[in-house]
């Protein structure tokens, strides 16, 4: 088990390394003069040259990349003008645009995106698995047909359409809810929850469709298996067969998919964050790309990529734990 984890993490490190190198390469050829942007468009060429030097943008791209890697493993020092500031390892560099350490920027954004993801995650898991179980149990009946159509509709709706509709209905028309916004949990837990209610709901509604389908199909697949026939032949009731045997078959795939979704949501909730104006990682990332803030982009992609890769490994691990028939390799 430990060996498996180590191997996976080693592979993950390689993947992330390649990913960051790729980003450096892409941004190297991207248009937009970073120094000019950092300095402001009314900077004189001489000032731009100074900024270029200060940001070390005159170094060849591989040297810049090497500095970046050095920061991750050993930390780096940055000049503040009056002195130096130490950026402790793992140092992801300092933003070209705001002089903030990327690590701190990300740490500040993580709770925001984390709040969004965790709530939505709980929502879609409950809703999705619940719907899946219900439609597997009521298979062949009206309930299942209705649920199947609802699920299809859910998977056919872009999150920004659902989100917009929810805002229109609950904020504008009915005025039951305040406009969605982010208030830190530590500041006011109640407002935190109210502010995130619609984003959670939108994400949960969309994502739960997947889980409903997955749960239902995994359960139906199990129900068609021989061992279910065994328990039927021994007089075990339908409720126990659904709740104990069929559901058990859905646990592994649901857990695995949850881990994947949970991981990818940290960088993948861009749309939701944009739509609801939640200042999380995704929105910050889009902004950083637009202003060619390479350290922020690379740092955030690294972190979100890390979540994805980690989620992949965790998904495999959980799958294996949940499904003891699988041998880790």
């Amino acid at each position: 088990m430990t060996g498996f984890l180590l191997r996976r993490l080693g592979g993950a490190a390689l993947v992330l390394l390649a990913l960051t190198a790729l980003l450096y390469a892409i941004f190297y050829v991207a248009p937009g003069d970073v120094a000019q942007i950092a300095c402001g468009p009314r900077c004189s060429p001489a000032q731009v040259a100074q900024v270029t030097e200060q940001l070390r943008l005159d170094d060849p791209v591989y040297v810049q990349y090497a500095h970046f890697l050095q920061g991750i493993v050993a930390g780096r020092d940055f000049s503040t003008g009056t002195g130096t500031e130490h950026c402790a390892m793992p140092c992801l560099g300092v933003s070209y645009q705001s002089d903030q350490q990327v690590t701190q920027l990300i740490l500040a954004k993580l709770p925001v995106t984390g709040s969004l993801v965790i709530g939505a995650f709980a929502g879609w898991l409950l809703l999705g698995v619940g719907t899946g179980v219900l439609s597997a149990w009521r298979r062949g009946r009206l309930t299942e047909r209705v649920l199947t159509w609802l699920t299809l509709a859910g998977s056919a709706t872009p999150v920004f359409v659902i989100g917009l509709l929810l805002i229109i209905v609950f904020c504008s028309t009915l005025q039951w809810l305040p406009a969605p916004s982010y208030v830190p949990f530590t500041e006011n837990p109640e407002q935190w929850a109210w502010g995130l209610l619609l984003p959670w709901t939108s994400l949960a509604l969309i994502e739960s469709a997947k889980y409903a389908r997955l749960t239902r199909s995994a359960m139906l697949e199990t129900l068609a298996e021989d061992h279910v026939r065994t328990f039927r032949a021994y007089g075990v009731g339908e409720r126990a067969i659904i709740g104990r045997h069929a559901l058990r078959g859905a646990v592994a795939p649901v857990i695995a998919l949850s881990a994947l979704d949970f991981g990818s949501m940290f960088g993948g909730a861009v749309l939701t964050e944009s739509l609801f104006g939640i200042p999380g990682i995704g929105r910050e990332l889009v902004h950083a790309v637009k202003v060619v803030d390479l350290p922020v982009v690379v740092g955030m992609v690294l972190v979100t990529g890390f979540f994805v890769v980690l989620a992949n490994a965790v998904a495999d691990l959980l799958y294996a734990l949940a499904d003891r028939r699988v041998v880790l390799s």
Partner: protein, 574 residues
């Protein structure tokens, strides 16, 4: 904040609302002109309470050296006092410059190349120590450091030795052209006459910074206050800022800042739709809220317009700003004045104004200078296109220019959804020019690429959308960067997009700069604008109008023509 464009930064800083000068269809019903404090909620403004500021852009730069703001900014001006500042009055009065830390607007030498300021008595920082002229000199010097870039270019361009100075971190000797003969006096030596130096002295770079407290790029986390409030919280790179009263600030030395609220709570990183929604709902703390960077969009305006109560809480303001078509005469066929004139005739300003948000948010423009007296606005319309364009006249000119069979050209614009250089405006021009037989292809660029391209002498396209805003309400910073031949930058950011290098124009600019009587200078700028306009190097399209909501409890609304935005130093919430 460091944004990709100066202009958009300016827009962000400028917000406002106001009551407006005649001729403008103001949406809000506030009464104009009266003494400050008549608009907004009922009752006399009182001290106390917390003012909430809901913004979309975090105050990422809170260092006076890095700020590029007109008149010292809005929230920053609560913390930073400057040598001079803008007059905190409604409308045209507000476009005047008044003393702040200094006793007067400065004493110029005869040719306006040397400016001397004397500080008021009793000026103190938030820690109670005295503000000295050396601190102001240091504050200006550090704005030359590459680490703290971001400010306007004037100090560098005007001060003797400014072009080569690299700031106090690299060059400990300092800048010789700023003298501090004693603790109260500061003298600036300029390399050419500049009658508008008092305007420049409003910028945050003239804020005093005690050298002992300077922490370089970290200074913005807690800049030392010279104004009525000090920073008590600055989280997430300016996303949340809380200001509280600075006990060492004395109202007696500051006639401009009213500082009614006890506390200012700035929350940014919010979506503009959320801001407007919260302001219109005006519930809880939001009743005492304003925004300093979020306008009402066309759709929101449409909604607000149908609600009388809400409409009463909309402030309208004007900021010196022009959106225009720019030509590069080095590129064919725009080298031919007849082609440029033909296009000037063909534009449909009604469609363009609609695309920019409708007549409440944009006013059609035929002059390059904004329609405010302080700019010396002189009305003219050299190529009258009427409301929707004069296609016949345009065709005639094209025929004369040898393009009887029509013309195919490319219009470069940005992809930003800013209602300024955005695709909708470009498409409106495309549609109008089609009637004159001109086929327009659109080239939309991402914002960085766009600003890179149009401000590069080498890459500049022939036909593109541009905009310009005033660094202060005068013709100088409006015309000189665009039309002064000596400001053409071959290998950096160039704003003289028409590459105009007319000795007569250059000479007139120099002449006006010598005038220290700002009113007299304004008239000369207006005349110069009219004259340059004949060359059809630009086609002025429209001047934007700002509309902003504020909360129910907000009183004493002041919106000057300088910033066009509600002044947070004047509002009260009690």
């Amino acid at each position: 904040m460091r944004q990709p464009s100066v202009i958009s930064r300016r827009v962000a800083a400028s917000t406002a609302v106001l009551v407006l000068a005649a001729g403008v269809a103001a949406c809000g019903p506030e009464d104009s002109k009266g003494a400050a404090g008549t608009s907004g909620a009922e009752g006399k403004p009182q001290k106390g309470g917390t003012l909430t500021v809901l913004n979309s852009n975090p105050q990422q730069d809170f260092d006076p050296a890095r700020l590029y703001t007109s008149g010292g900014g809005n929230v920053p001006s609560l913390v930073f006092r400057t040598l001079t500042t803008r007059n905190r009055e409604d409308g045209a009065e507000g476009a005047k410059v008044v003393p702040d830390l200094a006793t007067d607007l400065g004493t110029p030498s005869k040719d306006a190349t040397v400016w001397t300021y004397t500080l008021k008595d009793g000026l103190k920082y938030e820690d109670g120590t005295a503000i000295t002229s050396a601190d102001i000199k240091y504050g200006i010097e550090r704005s030359f450091a590459a680490e703290l870039s971001g400010g306007a270019p004037y100090l560098r361009d005007w001060l003797i030795g400014g072009a080569d100075y690299q700031g106090p971190y690299k060059d400990k000797k300092g800048l010789d052209s700023i003298e501090v003969p004693d603790e109260k006096t500061i003298v600036f030596h300029l390399n050419k006459p500049e009658g508008e130096f008092p305007f420049l002295a409003t910028q945050t770079q003239t804020t005093p910074v005690p050298q002992a407290k300077d922490t370089g790029t970290k200074y913005e986390e807690h800049p030392v206050s010279s104004g009525p409030y000090k920073v008590v919280t600055n989280e997430n790179d300016g996303e949340r800022i809380v200001l509280e009263r600075n006990p060492h600030w004395s109202a007696e030395t500051d006639e401009e800042r009213k500082a009614y609220p006890d506390r200012i709570d700035v929350r940014s990183g919010l979506d503009s739709a959320v801001i407007n929604q919260r302001l219109s709902a005006s519930q809880g703390a939001d009743a005492a809220a304003v925004t300093t960077d979020t306008n009402l969009g066309p759709a929101e305006l449409a909604k607000v317009g149908s609600d009388k109560k809400l409409a009463a809480r909309v402030g309208t303001g004007h900021f010196g700003y022009t959106n225009y078509i720019a030509f590069n005469p080095k590129v064919k066929p725009f080298d031919d004045p007849k082609v440029r004139q033909a296009i000037s005739y063909a534009v449909d300003r009604t469609s363009i104004v609609n695309a920019a948000g409708g007549s409440s948010l944009a006013e059609p423009a035929t002059t390059f200078l904004p329609e405010r007296d302080s700019f010396g606005h002189t009305p003219y319309d050299h190529f009258p296109a009427g409301k929707t364009g004069d296609a016949a006249k345009a065709k005639e000119l094209l025929k004369e220019a040898g393009h009887a069979d029509g013309l195919t050209i490319t219009l470069t614009h940005s992809n930003d959804k800013d209602f300024e250089t955005s695709p909708e405006i470009a498409t409106a021009i495309q549609a109008a020019l089609k009637k004159a037989g001109i086929t327009v292809k659109l080239q939309g660029l991402e914002s960085n690429d766009y600003s890179d391209t149009i401000h590069s002498a080498k890459k500049e396209p022939g036909f593109f959308l541009a905009h310009w805003g005033a660094d202060w309400p005068s013709g100088g910073p409006f015309l000189a960067p665009i039309f002064d031949g000596r400001q053409i930058v071959e290998d950096g950011a160039n704003f003289n997009t028409g590459f105009l290098n007319d000795p007569a124009v250059n000479k007139e600019i120099d002449e006006i700069n010598k005038i220290t009587d700002l009113k007299a200078a304004a008239a000369r700028w207006g005349a110069l604008d009219e004259k340059i306009g004949e060359q059809a190097l630009t086609v002025p399209l429209f001047h934007p109008v700002y509309k902003r909501l504020y909360g129910e409890d907000v009183k004493n609304i002041v919106i000057s023509d300088w910033t066009g935005v509600l002044d947070v130093s004047q509002v009260a919430v009690k």
